[in-house]
């Protein structure tokens, strides 16, 4: 029990449109152990990103419970969830979400500065070095390629030493080669820092690198694949 970082129980999400209510997620339940990786796959519009938002505490389910570590986040208000996110969570986005007016170094340091960490700059440099961008510290996002921007975003996410890293289509905006490099980086750093990784992706190859894959279709969890067994079987 103590090594379960995410527990999801009967989570539903419905939204009210003008004339009807629309079910986006229906009765989703699963657990995720710490330091594991989970891929959420499924067709477009299946509700993957909605689920990611709920797991990260960015949104509230209509019903159901989610625990992040020992925090029962579905019982908390936004301010409470914000405290938990500040403590545990990091993000990587499909559109990178770098701030255009900040240099690479400043982008990486920002969340640490906001959290009041004093070593933000040196740690940011260290992680930019890890992603191979130590020469581009003072470059602005518009001076970087897409792959480089995503590497900055990855550095930013890991520099904060989150317990849980949520990645939304991290390679979705990149070509295959660059995407592969970025995902290598993601898994490498994940391994090094023992972070729990939850990622939403379309790409089967990326999903296959995760220890668990869940498939969401039409708002329902249709399949759970434990890749650890598959992987060990493959090795055997």
């Amino acid at each position: 029990m103590p090594n379960k970082i995410l527990r999801v129980r009967s989570v539903n999400k419905t939204v009210q449109t003008a004339d009807q209510s629309l079910t986006i997620l229906n009765d989703i339940s699963f657990d995720l152990e710490a330091s594991q990786s989970l891929a959420i796959v499924g067709p477009s519009g299946a509700g993957k990103s909605t689920l990611l938002g709920l797991l990260a505490g960015l949104d509230e389910p209509t019903s159901g419970d989610i625990w992040m570590g020992e925090h029962h986040i579905t019982e908390m208000d936004e301010e409470g969830r914000a405290r938990v996110r500040a403590q545990l969570v990091g993000f990587v986005f499909q559109t990178f979400q770098l701030l255009g007016s900040l240099t690479a170094l400043e982008n990486v340091a920002l969340p640490m500065e906001l959290a009041g960490q004093t070593n933000a700059q040196s740690r940011a440099k260290e992680f930019l070095d890890k992603v191979g961008l130590s020469e581009r510290l003072s470059h602005y996002p518009k001076q970087l390629s897409g792959g480089e921007q995503q590497r900055v975003a990855v550095a930013r996410a890991f520099a904060c030493a989150p317990k849980l890293l949520f990645a939304d289509e991290p390679t979705g905006n990149l070509d295959q080669g660059t995407g592969a490099k970025v995902s290598d980086l993601l898994f490498e750093l994940n391994e090094q820092s023992q972070t729990t990784l939850v990622l939403v992706t379309h790409e089967q190859r990326l999903a296959n690198r995760c220890q668990t894959i869940i498939t969401i279709d039409g708002g329902e969890l249709t399949q759970t694949v434990d890749n650890r067994k598959e992987q060990s079987r493959a090795i055997a």
């Binding site: 990103s49 990611l52 938002g53 990260a56 960015l58 949104d59 936004e78 301010e79 914000a82 405290r83 938990v84 996110r85 500040a86 403590q87 969570v89 993000f91 986005f93 559109t95 979400q97 701030l99 255009g100 007016s101 900040l102 400043e106 969340p111 500065e113 906001l114 959290a115 009041g116 518009k142 904060c160 939304d168 905006n173």
Partner: protein, 843 residues
């Protein structure tokens, strides 16, 4: 305050996101600081002078010599007294002359305050003196030496007197309120006055009996004076004398200042309004840019309160920095205003009070709260989920609400500036009506322009279509620019055109010189001198000064007199048998032969204001003596004729015993001369006349006109300076509103470029768009300015209306040039950035 908030602010600024917000705020504060610093320093300078204004604790002032009973009472109460008499007169050194402001003072002058004098032509070594000049001495203002080409020790002729110039006056306690324009000052001893023969019955002079002493004696004198005035109210409604107290003068001027300051600040308010609009638009764009940042901050676990605090810290710092900069620039700009006002103001300017700084700072803070904060208010409420779902709606403060908050902020500022809710409401009401009219006219023009575009080539069509498609934005730009440009054109038009138009429309035989203060015995001699040069004059009129006291035996109340602006003080009275040329009888009849009883004719407007009709008997008081006459005719007077004209004309005989002075107007050639050479090109007859008859006064119309022109030029240049700052605010609006559609334009043009449009087409379309915008702005501005000038010409100056093609040319050219230049400057990125990068940047 956390360091990170300041870091974020610095990075926003570095990224150029704050440029417009800050510049607009700086401009608003600059305008307000410049105007209020100027008003404050001038006001304080003048008020400071008032405290010494009387050179005494109390004074009795009159247009005739002060009756002895006042002196007797003052002495009885143990008050010290001194006397002054001020009037205008020609003074000479050699063959140079000048119409100077003469003040004759008794030895005890001044009773309060001190004279600052020097014997050094450069104005150094100033010493103070508590007594006036001795007999035989003349103390003069330094500029009189320049005007007369004289130096210390020279002899100056004042009337029939010759005096030695011994000292230069740097400052005197009661030189007045500082609004100059009169001649250079010269001070002589009161004992010399009779020998100068300058003052004779009917001469226009101001006498003052100055008094000083302990408080109780002063208040006793005041009490005695008021009791006496009340008693005499039954005998004489308009007293010949007035009691002057420092408080009274201050009170009267205080009101003038409040009004003047309000006027200046209200013109500055237009700048604040435009800057506010620019700020609101720029803040909206800034808020858009901050959306991602805030969503990220919240996803990383920053609570709303931290976001709100960060936002406040940033806005506070923006307000602080921009206000400081605005105050600095305003401080510099107010020196330009002071420089322009220098010739009009003759006061030493003290350091400003705290008020302008407060006005400037509060303006900065209110602008931020009213215009910037509403656009940013929603940020802390942004859902953290927006990092994943960018399409998630943000609950912006509605546009209507933001508009009302902005108007409320503006109203608060205007009401504060003008210290009147009514003025603020009227002013803002009028301004919004002006905006609405401009917007309506502009919309019609835009429709026309759109129609025109439909059958033009590709980029013209594209540019004009853009103008129409974003018409809300176009209208904001148009109205901002057109109104400012219009005000600027009006002010410039008045400065450059009105006086010359007035001059040009004067009839060819308009007199060029006016002769006053010519004694009975001198008239023949002056006629001879004029005849030698074959100069024509109008009729010679005898003139005495008097007041109206009774109508049909009833006292004229002060209120009734106050209704008639012309007759509320002493007026010039004359007598003649022939109706003056520019007069027309509109009721009753001009006397053909001697009437049985004394009769007079009155100007029709004054008669209406006073409420008198034909047959009424009116009592006049001249120098304390009274007589009555019957109103037998009403006249309309063409004041534009520049002939000697009178409100009241008697049948000859009525004024004989009052020893009148004579007045006439001389036609001595072309009125219009080059500016600045009035002194060197004096008409030849003047020299001989004033040398033979030194007490006569010659007034040159060119001098009067150039003095009026000077006042108008300075006032309008001051206003132009303020309006140029306001125009800069208009430019901010243009910049900010292009900013609003910037991303959209960037995307559209990237798509156009991708589809094969050349840079030239995009540049062409933008140029056409801005040129059309500038053309319509300039056209509306010129239309508005021409309309206002039409009313000023016909209603204020009684001139026939005239077109001002140059105004239209300037208006339209300035509109097109400014907007094309600024617009392309703001849009250069749209043209230069490669399409792929544009699209990537907007992804």
């Amino acid at each position: 305050m956390r360091l990170i908030d300041l870091k974020l602010l610095y990075r926003d600024w570095r990224g150029g996101q704050l440029n417009l917000v800050i510049s607009a705020l700086v401009l608003a504060v600059t305008v307000v600081t410049a105007v209020s610093l100027f008003a404050d320093r001038v006001e304080r300078g003048i008020l400071q002078q008032i405290s010494q204004f009387l050179a005494a604790d109390l004074a009795v002032r009159g247009g005739i010599e002060i009756d002895d009973q006042y002196r007797v009472k003052a002495t009885e109460l143990g008050l010290e007294t001194a006397d002054t008499a001020s009037f205008r007169s020609m003074v000479f050194v050699g063959d140079k002359n000048h119409l100077a402001a003469v003040k004759a003072v008794s030895m005890d002058y001044p009773l309060r305050g001190q004279m600052e004098l020097t014997s050094d032509p450069l104005g150094h070594n100033v010493s103070v003196s508590g007594i006036g000049p001795s007999q035989g001495e003349a103390w003069v203002e330094p500029r009189l030496l320049t005007l007369l080409d004289a130096k210390l020790g020279d002899r100056v002729e004042v009337g029939y007197l010759t005096l030695e110039i011994t000292r230069l006056i740097i400052n005197e306690p009661d030189r007045g309120t500082g609004f100059g324009g009169a001649g250079a000052r010269i001070m002589i001893s009161l004992k010399d006055l009779p020998a100068s023969k300058l003052i004779r019955p009917g001469s226009r002079a101001t006498y003052r009996l100055l008094m000083s002493g302990n408080e109780s004696s002063i208040s006793n004198f005041k009490q005695w004076y008021e009791d006496k005035e009340r008693k005499e109210a039954d005998e004489l409604t308009v007293p010949h004398y007035r009691l002057l107290t420092p408080e009274g003068a201050e009170e009267q001027l205080g009101e003038t200042f409040t009004r003047g300051r309000a006027f200046l600040l209200l013109s500055g308010t237009i700048g604040v309004l435009l800057a506010g609009l620019a700020m609101a638009l720029a803040s909206h764009r800034y808020a858009n840019r901050l959306t991602d940042q805030v969503a990220l901050m919240k996803a990383w676990g920053q609570p709303s309160s931290a976001v709100r605090r960060s936002q406040f810290v940033r806005l506070l710092m923006i307000a602080l920095v921009a206000t400081c900069l605005g105050i600095l620039f305003g401080w510099l700009a107010h020196y330009f205003l002071l420089e322009l006002a220098k010739g009009l103001l003759n006061v030493e300017l003290p350091l400003p009070s705290w008020r302008p700084w407060i006005v400037a700072s509060v303006t900065g803070v209110i602008c931020v709260l009213g215009f910037a904060l509403p656009a940013l208010w929603h940020l802390p409420a942004i859902a953290p989920l927006k990092v994943l779902r960018r399409d998630l709606p943000t609950s912006l403060v509605s546009q209507g609400k933001r508009l009302w908050i902005g108007i409320a902020a503006l109203f608060a500022l205007t009401a504060w500036y003008s210290t009147s809710l009514v003025t603020a409401s009227l002013f803002l009401g009028a301004l919004f009506v002006l905006f609405a009219v401009c917007a309506l006219v502009a919309l019609q023009f835009l429709r026309l322009v759109k129609g025109f575009g439909a059958w033009q080539g590709s980029y013209v069509r594209l540019g004009l279509a853009n103008l129409w498609r974003r018409r809300a934005q176009t209208l904001v730009q148009l109205v901002g620019f057109a109104t400012t440009l219009m005000l600027l054109l009006i002010v410039t038009g008045m400065r450059t055109n009105l006086i010359s138009e007035w001059e040009a429309q004067l009839p060819a035989d308009t007199p060029s010189h006016f002769l006053f203060n010519v004694a009975d015995a001198e008239v023949e001699g002056v006629r001879e001198i004029l005849a030698k040069d074959s100069l024509e004059t109008t009729e010679w009129y005898p003139m005495v000064r008097g007041r109206l006291t009774h109508i049909n035996g009833d006292l004229i109340s002060k209120e009734r007199l106050a209704r008639s602006g012309g007759l509320s003080r002493e007026v010039n009275l004359t007598q003649t048998t022939t109706l003056p040329p520019s007069n027309k009888i509109v009721a009753g009849s001009w006397w053909e032969s001697a009437p049985e009883k004394p009769a007079f004719s009155m100007e029709e407007e004054v008669a209406t204001e006073l409420g008198v009709t034909l047959g009424d008997e009116i009592t006049y008081s001249v120098g304390g003596l009274t007589f009555s006459a019957t109103l037998t005719s009403l006249r309309s007077v063409n004041w534009q004729s520049m002939n000697p004209n009178f409100y009241v004309i008697f049948y000859p005989g009525a004024l004989d015993k009052y020893a009148p002075n004579w007045v006439t107007a001389v036609k001595a050639g072309d009125l219009v001369r080059k500016e600045g050479d009035a002194l060197t090109q004096q008409a030849p007859f003047i020299k001989e006349m004033v040398q033979r008859y030194p007490t006569a006064i010659v007034l040159e119309l060119t001098d009067v006109v150039s003095r009026i022109r000077d006042v108008i030029t300075r006032v309008t240049q001051g206003l132009e300076l303020i309006l140029l700052l306001v125009l800069a605010c208009g430019a901010m609006v243009l910049f900010a509103s292009i900013g609003v559609s910037f991303d959209e334009r960037l995307r559209e043009n990237a798509i156009l470029r991708t589809l094969g449009s050349s840079k030239k087409v995009i540049l062409g379309a933008l140029t056409v768009e801005y040129a059309a915008l500038g053309f319509v702005s300039g056209l509306i501005a010129s239309m508005g300015a021409e309309t206002v000038l039409y009313f000023v010409q016909t209603k204020v100056f009684d001139l026939s209306a005239q077109w001002h093609p140059s105004l239209w040319a300037i208006g339209i050219f300035a509109g097109v040039a400014l907007i094309v230049l600024l617009g392309l400057l703001r849009s250069r990125e749209i043209i230069t950035v490669a399409p792929l990068e544009s699209l990537r940047r907007l992804a």
